[in-house]
């Protein structure tokens, strides 16, 4: 473990420098290295990470077919009018059986080809639960370092258990479509709890106004009353907006609200969010490293013996974990 070897380090530096200089092919190659978790990716990220931290990272989640990709496309168009470079990471599920994936979000985002300040990347979840791929956070850091001012992350879209995006993004948008009975689904999945902004899309459909009104009523009910002295953690109180992504109605308004949510150095809420993100990233890497070390040539036998002892109920899992941690440097 530790530092990448000399060859990956040179390749990583080459790609990182290319990406920083605006070579989109280098950026794309780097994202592949990151998805494949290669030593090249690690070498490049060590160079790029200090350059990141400028972008506004926005997560977009919600049930399948609610219009996430269409909304992303409409947001791109609006952001480009203001001249800001924008990148998209669109995550779709991998088959747990074959490992294959059908990445179809791009179908709705075709209008922006030829504009080099729009960068769209599809990503298979590759067995990672929570609506994202394991590489999503690092991929966002690369695009951030490359100077993309706004980074939109579209989650898998099962509509359930996709709260992970809230840890990866500065601002989380939860999309709903009218009359899908999804209000209850969204509450069950805890989605509304992580929403900074709730968007009822397909505003051209009957029932859209009503769905928005119901969500507003519901979200007021769970919001904290100021000064009631109760300091328990509370769900956020998101704004509820109405859009018709397919015609861009309501999208400029959404963009304005997003811009208000853009993190600033001096607001404690975004500082806490960034700390949580750093924590998640570092724990994931630390976990990977411990696991890799315990399976290297020096430790493999001892590790396997310890695991077998737990399987045979000769050792409890806590003692086993302590023993393994004692084995790593």
């Amino acid at each position: 473990m530790g530092e990448p070897g000399p060859e990956p380090a040179a390749r990583g530096r080459e790609l990182a420098e290319g990406a920083l200089a605006g070579d989109r092919r280098a950026t794309a190659r780097l994202l592949t290295a990151i998805e494949n978790r290669t030593p090249v990716a690690e070498a490049a990220l060590r160079i790029l990470y200090p350059q990141a931290g400028q972008a506004h990272i926005v997560g977009i989640t919600g049930p399948p077919g609610s219009g996430k990709s269409t909304l992303v496309s409409a947001l791109i168009a609006n952001v480009r009018e203001a001249g800001r470079p924008v990148a998209v990471i669109a995550v779709d599920p991998s088959s747990p059986i074959t490992g294959g994936a059908l990445l179809g979000d791009r179908v709705r985002m075709q209008a922006h080809a030829g504009d080099r300040d729009v960068f769209i990347r599809s990503m298979a979840a590759r067995g990672h639960a929570g609506g994202l791929a394991a590489a999503t956070g690092a991929a966002a850091a690369v695009l951030d370092a490359c100077g993309f001012d706004l980074i939109l992350i579209e989650t898998v879209g099962t509509g359930q258990s996709e709260v992970e995006v809230a840890a990866a993004a500065d601002t989380t948008v939860v999309l709903e479509a009218p009359e899908m009975g999804d209000e209850v689904q969204a509450i069950k999945a805890g989605l509304l709890e992580v929403a900074d902004i709730v968007v009822v899309n397909k505003g051209d459909r009957p029932g859209a106004q009503r769905t928005a009104a119901q969500l507003r009523a519901m979200l007021v009910a769970i919001a904290p009353r100021p000064g009631d002295g109760d300091e328990r953690p509370r769900p956020k109180r998101p704004e509820v907006l109405l859009t018709t992504a397919s015609t861009s109605v309501g999208v400029p308004e959404l963009l304005a609200v997003l811009d208000r949510h853009r993190p600033t150095d001096h607001d404690s809420g975004s500082a806490a969010a960034r700390l949580a993100r750093a924590e998640a990233q570092v724990w994931a890497i630390a976990g990977d490293r411990v696991r890799a070390q315990l399976h290297d040539d020096r430790h493999r036998e001892a590790t396997e013996a310890t695991l077998r002892a737990v399987a045979d109920h000769e050792l409890d899992p806590y003692a086993a974990a302590d023993r393994l941690l004692g084995d790593v440097q």
Partner: protein, 134 residues
């Protein structure tokens, strides 16, 4: 062979509404363990080159049944080369007369697959011929 899935772009160039074959292929290759980016109908050569570059695919698969293959496919091959994507495997399928195939191969299409091709044949060909990436 790399231990991660091969990534394939399936695109339909030009004003060709025949998307059944492309969809069958996209779905079938997913089931064969490929990561398939499907971009839908009516793609310009520029859109296809942009998608191939940003997605960093190993394979570009072009499905065309409109008869416009002799103008569109060589243009796409050239754009991909101009973008530096010269290690990407370019394949095509659909309604393409045998007489046209030598010129298309000359232009950079590695292989052409016609009606009746099975998914397994395509999958085996791609596994054998896609360039391993780092």
């Amino acid at each position: 062979m790399p231990d991660h899935p091969i990534k394939v772009l399936i695109a339909k160039p030009g004003l060709d509404g025949h998307d059944r074959g492309a969809k069958v292929l996209a779905r079938g290759l997913r089931d064969e363990g490929f990561e398939v980016v499907y971009t839908g109908l009516r793609q310009t050569p520029e859109m296809i080159a942009t998608a191939a570059l940003q997605e960093d695919v190993d394979v570009v698969g072009l499905s065309i049944l409109s008869g416009a293959h002799m103008t569109l496919l060589p243009r796409i091959c050239k754009l991909l080369r101009d973008e530096g994507l010269d290690d990407v495997l370019i394949t095509a399928g659909g309604i393409i007369p045998d007489d046209d195939i030598p010129a298309l191969k000359e232009a950079g299409i590695a292989e052409v697959f016609g009606p009746g091709t099975t998914i397994r044949e395509v999958a085996d060909y791609l596994r054998a011929n896609a360039n391993p990436r780092d």
